[in-house]
């Protein structure tokens, strides 16, 4: 892999680092393809419980690759494989944590919005600067952000390209925590480890339940949640979890 580095800082946790610093981690097709391929592999690896994606201390990802974009006309852009790549990232079933230091602009912001949980360094800056190029966010930026923070702020940010500080992002639920820059990745990995120790099947249906909230009505969502709830009753981990609680010991989950 040319544009990303992977490592396993804790048991069950994979850290993916975007590694194209000279281009400020611009998300060209090749990078996106590597992320999607990597996640697909991790999907199949039962030893992997959670994944953290990060950039470097100055930059998460400063947008798409404009050289690549400028070559596309209306015909070729219709056949572009990017939407497929984004879809594959979106379909990753294990918890995906984003550790954002520095710039998360355009596609970088949209990648962050694919995270189940986002941690931001104090120097994090989010923006949808596509408007300045006569474009609109094309990887869910208008959709996911509006569902997260509402129409008012999204209209404003998408129409102006204004920068959003880490504090503002925290205030509006784009991130769940702001960390000193030097600790963002560590805290994301620790959080990932904490989740990695939970019952994998329960984690899986929690993610499914939550990801469905913008797809279905509340009553359908409640039904879905109930089904997951019932389904978990058939798992050994649920029994283990309850037994451990009653016996005042730590549970040992096995994903069955």
């Amino acid at each position: 892999m040319e544009y990303i580095k992977t490592s396993s800082p804790k048991s069950g946790v994979i850290l993916i680092e975007l590694n194209r610093p000279e281009k400020r981690n611009a998300l060209n097709n090749a990078t996106l393809q590597e992320i999607a391929d990597c996640l697909q592999q991790l999907e199949a690896d039962s030893a992997v419980k959670t994944v953290v994606i990060t950039g470097n201390s100055q930059c998460f990802a400063a947008g798409a690759d404009l050289n690549e974009l400028s070559k596309l006309d209306v015909v070729s852009i219709q056949q572009d494989l990017r939407p497929q790549l984004w879809k594959r990232i979106d379909e990753f079933s294990k918890p995906l944590i984003m550790a954002i230091n520095g710039y998360a602009f355009g596609a970088g912001f949209e990648l962050a919005l694919h995270g189940d949980i986002v941690l931001a360094g104090e120097n994090a800056q989010f923006a949808l600067p596509e408007i300045g190029l006569g474009m609109l966010p094309g990887a869910g930026g208008t959709q996911r952000l509006a569902r997260l923070v509402g129409q008012q702020l999204t209209m404003r940010w998408a129409m102006t390209g204004e920068m959003i500080s880490a504090q503002t992002a925290l205030q509006h639920g784009i991130t769940s925590q702001v960390c000193p820059v030097g600790l963002t990745v560590q805290y994301a990995v620790e959080l990932a480890e904490k989740i990695a120790k939970q019952a994998p099947l329960a984690i899986r249906v929690i993610k499914q339940s939550l990801k469905s909230i913008h797809e279905v009505t509340l009553s359908q969502g409640l039904k879905l949640e109930r089904q997951h709830f019932v389904w978990l009753a058939a798992t050994q981990d649920r029994q283990e979890g309850i037994n451990a609680f009653l016996e005042k010991r730590k549970p040992e989950f096995r994903g069955v």
Binding site: C179, P180, G182, L183
Partner: protein, 263 residues
């Protein structure tokens, strides 16, 4: 680089920035804003500079905005005073407060208006006995800017801050120390030597650790205790990874003077 409005000197890891428009009591015009900002920006990133001293030439420290640069014709349209604040003063205050190294202000004479608040934005303020501080804004119908309304209540409490800001009296250096507005007063002819001594001392200290202290104390102004305790934990984590901390502990065990590198 040639400067028209400031004197810039780098010596023993200390950066000395001296306002140099003594005829105008070192009041800010556009050139001075640009020069001060470019020097401070450069020092902020320069790891060879480990302490900064801001001082001034002549009998005054800084009289704030040079009013010759502003529209004061009573018949003209109202000027937008917010413009120069947004463009120059606010970024300057942030440069000082976010500078990851100690910033000392040596106040040699009258510090009025924005000039006073630029001094108060610095980490350690030493004033000459004959120096004074004036929140002159209220006399013209204006509001203390450059962080004045933020720094004053935090430094001296609300009652004193109101008095200073609404009455605009001239506060002598010795009274400023008693109020807790500044760190120290020295004899006029000792100001230069004392501020230099302090800067050279600080330039040999663990700069990274000092930058974290500065960050924590600034954050305390808006954090609640819970958040501040978390911040202290985080910053201590980072501090514990610095090579200066290692050196400090080693030097202590070996009973020698530590040699800090600032990182």
């Amino acid at each position: 680089m040639e400067y028209q409005t400031v004197i810039v000197e780098e010596k023993n890891a200390v950066g000395y920035l001296t306002f140099n428009r003594p005829q105008q009591l070192n009041s800010f015009n556009e050139t001075m804003h640009k020069e001060v900002s470019s020097v401070l920006k450069a020092w902020s990133k320069d790891s060879n500079i480990r302490a900064v001293v801001i001082s001034a030439e002549g009998r005054g420290f800084c009289a704030g905005q040079d009013l010759n640069d502003r529209v004061v014709d009573p018949n003209a349209d109202a000027p937008d005073l917010g413009l120069s604040i947004e463009k120059y003063y606010n970024p300057l205050i942030k440069l000082i407060t976010e500078m990851p190294k100690p910033v000392i202000c040596a106040v040699n004479g009258v510090a009025a208006g924005a000039g006073a608040n630029i001094a108060l934005a610095c980490d350690l303020v030493i004033a000459a006995k004959s120096a004074s501080f004036i929140q002159a804004f209220c006399r013209l119908g204006l509001v203390p800017d450059s962080g004045g309304t933020w720094f004053l209540p935090r430094l001296v409490g609300r009652a004193q801050a109101m008095g200073l800001a609404m009455l605009g009296d001239k506060i002598p250096a010795e009274q400023a120390v008693q109020l807790g507005m500044i760190w120290q007063v020295v004899e006029d002819d000792a100001l230069k030597a004392e501020s230099q001594k302090m800067a050279e001392h600080l330039a040999k200290q663990p700069t990274y650790g000092l930058s974290l202290i500065k960050k924590a104390i600034h954050a305390a102004a808006h954090n609640n205790l819970d958040d501040q305790l978390i911040l202290e934990r985080d910053l201590q984590r980072l501090a514990g990874r610095s090579s200066d901390y290692r050196e400090g502990v080693q030097a202590f065990m070996q009973k020698r003077t530590p040699e800090y590198k600032g990182c």
